[in-house]
Amino acid sequence: MIRHRRLIWAGIWRNSTRTTYTLLSIVVAFVLFGLLQGVAAAFSHAVASANLDRLYVDSRLGREQLPLAYLPRIERVAGVSAVAHATWFGGAYQDSKKSVYSLAVDPVRYFSIYRELRLPAEQLRKLTQTRDGAVVSRKTAERFGWKIGDRVPLISSVWSSKGGGSVWPFEIVGIFDPEEDRTSRTEFVLNYAYFDEARQYKNGTVGWYTAQAADPRQSTQVAAAIDALFANSSDETLTQNEQEKAQALLKEHGDLNLIVNLIMGAVFFTLLLLTGNTMMQSVRERIPEFAVLKTLGYSSATVTLIIGCEALGMCLAAALLGLALAWLLYPVLQVVTAAPRMPLWVPLAGALIAALLAGVTALPSAARLRRISVVDALAGR
């Protein structure tokens, strides 16, 4: 087919205005595909890569706090090897638009469970020794230009200090690097002891506990044992493994995969009609030209291949451009997905869909060309 490239190229640009609009439609559709599927894939990956042996103990009432006194009781549950707790700080830097995902934790407990947030031991020690110390993810440090030793004021949308203000000053004492293939939203980690002592209310409570199950196969039983421990108390718990927790969080926003699939289904169906119509129209206008090609000795198979290559060239080029744009735009969505790069399968699937789209749209035109009578077509009948 490489021999016929000039013919294919000329066919694509036979009506440049129509081709340009069709190409733009395909580009936009694949930008949308890349971004939406990328977001859905990032969330699915986060769920899939979640630890089954990491159990989240939340209040059964939703976002209510749990007593800190639960900590030793959870630790004593058979099958639990370690326990950490965290409290949502609700931080923002300089203004509320620059949010920073911040957690108040017991640093030693927290980083011993969340090993994927790699913090040098020295910096962890410094964090435990500095009451108003905090450690930040490298990305957050780069985002705001923070470095170790800086004092940064964080605005809490949830907690006021006993002094009455919502601005909490912290000293950056360390920078952690999350593992590349793990999705983590944690950006800023501060000392719970300092936070709990300084906050105005709900002292002696935590947002949730994280319990490490010694044996992942026993995590369901361990979760049930934890919930049983606090059943019929004023602060009942709901324990889920990390995967269930991630799924539950996603479900709060609806079934993302279903929404994405419905949107993309509608987009591709429209695109199929649009591109198919363009191809049909383009071929219909050129029937005398194809008849001439057949007269010159081009077989039906060759003409079909030429049509197929036109459709493939158009769909694939536009789709790749759209996917490239989506790839470039994807990091902007990192705030939502916490994933720095679009999963590789998304552009690959996009290219495959583009090829299928080309095949489906070229099929009716190719079938029509196979049926035409050269004599009638040349005579304009």
Binding site: V292, L296, Y298, S299, V375, L378
Partner: protein, 238 residues
């Protein structure tokens, strides 16, 4: 002289609105190699149908058609397509060039089906365009050429693969008198100098005078030499 085209007892009919139209009836025709014949006749007489059958674009309902020793009436669609690419050059009334391709790309089209490499193809194209006097317009698109020049490109395309037979359907029908003469002169040159066998359909008796033999088709039958003897040659009138 050997026979280039042999048409024996050929019949062809079409169905039009439930009616059967007998276009050709047991028609016989022999065209010698190197001959230039003109097929004339009123509209609907069957001359274009005969041309399509000789050129392998259509198949007869009855009879035999042999071109350069090969039976074309019994070939399958695929065989006919391959046969046309090797043996027949087509020239149409409306040139039928690819509008988005340059003159040289248009001329190259039949060679794309051969095993020639790009260098050899370019040489053949250059020779064909030089032969029709359009070497300097090789990079022009059809829209940038006059009607006569477009027909010359079409002739170059028809001869570039060195076919046995040139089939011309009203090649001057869309041209002014002067340009028509140039095209007919070119066809005569191809016939005389290169020995190309040419079968040309025309309504124009003056154009028919350029052929070595004039045939008249009427109601699906062939009448040799009718109605054309009295016509003055075109160049005398131009």
């Amino acid at each position: 002289m050997s026979v280039a085209v042999q048409v024996e007892q050929v019949s062809k009919h079409y169905k039009r609105g439930g009616e059967t139209v007998e276009v050709l009836q047991r028609l016989d025709l022999d065209v010698a190699a190197g001959e230039f014949i003109a097929l004339m006749g009123p509209s609907g007489s069957g001359k274009s149908t005969l041309l399509n059958l000789i050129g392998g674009l259509d198949r007869p309902d009855e009879g035999r058609i042999t071109v350069a020793g090969e039976r074309v009436d019994s070939m399958t669609e695929g065989q006919l397509t391959r046969w046309r690419s090797r043996h027949v050059g087509f020239i149409f009334q409306l040139y039928n060039l690819m509008p988005k391709l340059t003159a040289e790309a248009n001329v190259e089209l039949p060679l794309m089906l051969t095993k020639m490499n790009s260098k050899a193809r370019a040489e053949h194209v250059a020779t064909a365009l030089k032969m029709v006097g359009l070497a300097e317009r090789a990079r022009h698109k059809p829209s940038e050429l006059s009607g006569g020049q477009q027909q010359r490109v079409a002739i170059a395309r028809a001869i570039v693969a060195d076919p046995t037979l040139l089939v011309c359907d009203e090649p001057t029908g869309d041209l002014d008198r002067r340009t028509a003469i140039e095209i007919l002169e070119l066809l005569r040159l191809l016939n005389r100098e290169l020995g190309k066998t040419i079968v040309m359909v025309t309504h124009d008796p003056q154009a028919a005078r350029y052929a070595t033999r004039q045939l008249y088709v009427d109601k699906g039958q062939l009448c040799e030499g009718m109605h054309v003897e009295h016509v003055e040659p075109m160049e005398a009138q131009a």
